[in-house]
Symmetry: C2
Subunit: 344 residues, 2 copies
DNA sequence: CTGTTAGCGCTTTCAA
DNA sequence: TTGAAAGCGCTAACAG
C-alpha cells in the first residue's frame, strides 16, 4: 500500500507490486501488459502476476492515459435515451469496441445544442480516444468538425448534411420512399406526413423520399406546415392535432416520421374517434422493440441498429489503427403490420 | 503548441499558456482554477484568461485526475437502456451532478453479472469519483460492496437486499399492494402475477406486497411457477403463455411485474382472442412514457424516476463532500387507466 | 531479460 | 502575489 490515500483505483500501485515481487516497476509494467508479455522471463512474469493478484492490483488508467495519451474510452453521444431505437446501436457498438479493450462512455444531449457542445468539451477534456456521435443536428456541425480535427469521430445514425466526417447511416430517402410506395400500392390517393425536426437530417430526407415517391405514384399530399420540435410522443400528438383541426379534406394515410410520433398521433386519433386502420392508415419509422406488440401493431420501417452500431464501432477501431475509412449507408426495410391497410 | 503530438485535449497545455502570457505555469493553474482565483492579481488573471482563450486552452482532466485524485466523473451503471423508466432517472441525476461540474459516465450491464463486474472494474480503473448503481442483482452484492470500500456508491432504483450501501429506492412492497387493492376494489376474486426475476429485489417485494394485500382482501391467486429471466417484453409473453396453457380456472385480473412484461402479455392475449379489459384486467408497473398512449392504455404504478435520480445525484454529492447520508424510500402511486376494470 | 531514466500535464506545497 | 520544485502512477526509450 502506498503512502498517499487518494487512490481510487484500489490503492495498490505498480510500485507496490514491484517491491513485493522484488523487481523493478518497469518489469512489472511489461509483465502485466499483454503487448510486452514476451519481453519478460516466463517465471518472473508468473511470479509478478501472482503478486499483483494477491495484492489486488488494478491498473490506473488515468496515469496510463496521461503517459500514453490513450484512455481506452470511446465517447458516445446520443440525443435521447428515451428513443429506444438507439438501444441496439449501443449494444452492438459496445460489443465491437469492447473486443479491443475499449469502453464506451455514453452521454445524452437531450437534443440541446448547448448541452452538445458541453459534452463534446468534457469528452475532449477527458481525452476519450475517439467519439461516435448519434445526436448531431445541423447547428452542431461546426463544433463537431473542429473536434474532428483533434480525434477520430464517426457520425452514426443521424446523418449530418455536408459533413466531412465519416458516417454510418441508413438511407433515409429510401425509407421515406418505402412508405409512400406502400401507401400507393394500398390504393391511397390523399396522404400526409407528420414531420420531425428539419434540422435533424433524417427527417428532411424521409420527407424528400416520401414526397418524390408520392409524385411518381400520383399521390396527393396534404401539407401540415408545422414540424415537430423534437421527435417525441408529445410532438406527434401536437402535429396530429394540427392536421385534424385545419384540414377539411382528410388524408386516408399518414406517415409519422418516427414511431414515437406515430404513438402520439395514434393516441390523439383515438380520442377523436378515428379508428386506425379502419378510418385511417398510419405508419411510423424505426421499428422500436415495442411497436410490434401494441394494438394496432405499427407498420414501420426497420432501423438496422445492430448493423449501425457494429459498423460504427469497427470504423472507430480502424480509424484508431490509422486506417482510412469510408462512409457507409445501410438499406432500410418496410415492415407491414396492422396499422395500415388497403382502401376499399 | 507543445512538442509532442499525442495530445487529445486540444494540444494547448498550461505551459503553453504560461509561456505566451509570460508567467509561471503555477500562476496559470491558479488563475484558471475558480477555487484559487483570489490568490492571483486581478489584472494578471484577466490577462491569463485572455491568453488561454485565444490559444484555445482546454484543461486536461486526465492529468488533473492523476495529480488531484479526482476525475469529476460519476459512474452510472444501468441494466437495460431499453427499459425507459430509467430515462428520467438519468436526466435528473445528470442535472444534479452537473451543477457540481461533474459528468455521469453511463454504462450498461445488459443484466449480466460478468458484464457488471467488468464495468465496475473499468470504472474503478478509470477512477470515477463515485458511482450510482441501478443494475444490482443479488449476485452482484459482494463485488459491489467491496467497491464501496474504495469510493462512495449509491444504490438507486433497484434495491439490494441486505446491503450496507445507501439506497434511493421506491417502496416496491407498497406498489405491489396498490395493485392488489385496486383489483380487490374492482371486485376481482381470482388473480395472478407474471413475476419478474426474483434475484432483482424489486420483484420479490412487489410479489410480497401484492400477495399480502391479496390475503387481506380475500383474493385468491393462481400461481404461475415460472418467473421471468429478464423483465422484458419477450419474457412477459412467455410467462403469459405459461399461464394460458396450464390453467383451467382463469384469473380475471393479472399483475405483470413491469410495463414491458405487460406489453408482452397483452400481445399474447390478443393472439389468443382474450380482450383486455373486457375479458381480463391487466396491470403493469413503472408507467413508462408510452403506456398511457397505447390501446388499451395501461393501468400501472408510477415510478418517480425524476425524484430517484435527483436524490441519488444529491446523495452522491453529499457523500463526496464527506457528509453522512441516509437511505431513502419514495412512495409509488397507482395510475388507473383502461386496461383494468370492475367485474360485473 | 531487466533496470535506469525521463517525463505525460497538472496541482500544490514551500519559498521568495 | 508569484516562482520553484516535487511528484501523482504509469510507459517507453535506452542501457546494461
Amino acid at each position: 500500500m502506498s503512502t498517499k490515500e487518494n487512490l481510487g483505483a484500489g490503492g495498490v500501485t505498480l510500485l507496490d507490486v514491484a517491491r513485493e515481487a522484488g523487481v523493478h516497476v518497469s518489469t512489472v509494467s511489461r509483465a502485466l501488459d499483454p503487448a510486452h508479455h514476451s519481453r519478460v522471463k516466463e517465471v518472473t512474469r508468473q511470479h509478478i502476476e501472482a503478486v499483483a493478484d494477491r495484492l489486488g492490483y488494478r491498473p490506473d488508467m488515468v496515469a496510463r492515459g496521461l503517459k500514453s495519451g490513450r484512455t481506452a474510452t470511446i465517447g458516445v453521444i446520443v440525443a435521447d435515451l428515451g428513443n429506444t431505437f438507439i438501444t441496439p446501436v449501443i449494444h452492438a457498438l459496445t460489443a465491437a469496441v469492447e473486443s479491443a479493450g475499449m469502453m464506451p462512455m455514453i452521454a445524452e444531449t437531450e437534443d440541446d445544442h448547448d448541452r452538445f457542445a458541453n459534452i463534446l468539451d468534457h469528452m475532449l477534456s477527458r481525452r476519450v480516444d475517439a467519439m461516435i456521435v448519434m445526436s448531431a443536428r445541423s447547428a452542431d456541425r461546426q463544433v463537431l468538425e473542429s473536434a474532428g480535427r483533434i480525434l477520430p469521430i464517426v457520425v452514426a445514425g443521424r446523418p449530418l448534411d455536408g459533413t466531412t466526417l465519416p458516417e454510418v447511416v441508413v438511407d433515409e430517402y429510401a425509407g421515406g420512399r418505402l412508405i409512400a410506395e406502400h401507401f400507393a400500392e394500398s390504393g391511397h390517393s390523399l396522404v400526409a406526413q407528420l414531420r420531425g425536426p428539419l434540422d435533424v437530417a433524417n427527417f428532411p430526407r424521409r420527407d424528400a423520399g416520401f414526397t418524390a415517391a408520392c409524385h411518381e405514384h400520383g399521390l396527393e399530399q396534404v401539407l401540415v406546415p408545422e414540424t415537430a420540435t423534437l421527435p417525441v410522443i408529445a410532438e406527434g400528438r401536437r402535429i396530429m392535432e394540427a392536421l385534424i383541426s385545419t384540414t377539411n379534406n382528410r388524408p386516408t394515410a399518414i406517415f409519422a416520421h418516427n414511431d414515437l410520433m406515430a404513438l402520439g398521433a395514434l393516441s390523439r386519433l383515438r380520442e377523436e374517434g378515428i379508428r386506425v386502420p379502419d378510418d385511417l392508415s398510419l405508419a411510423g419509422y424505426n421499428d422500436l422493440p415495442m411497436v410490434g406488440h401494441i394494438s394496432p401493431s405499427l407498420t414501420t420501417v426497420n432501423y438496422p441498429g445492430k448493423d449501425v452500431g457494429r459498423l460504427a464501432g469497427e470504423m472507430i477501431l480502424r480509424l484508431l489503427g490509422g486506417e482510412q475509412v469510408e462512409s457507409c449507408t445501410l438499406k432500410p426495410e418496410l415492415v407491414v403490420r396492422e396499422s395500415t391497410r388497403a382502401t376499399h
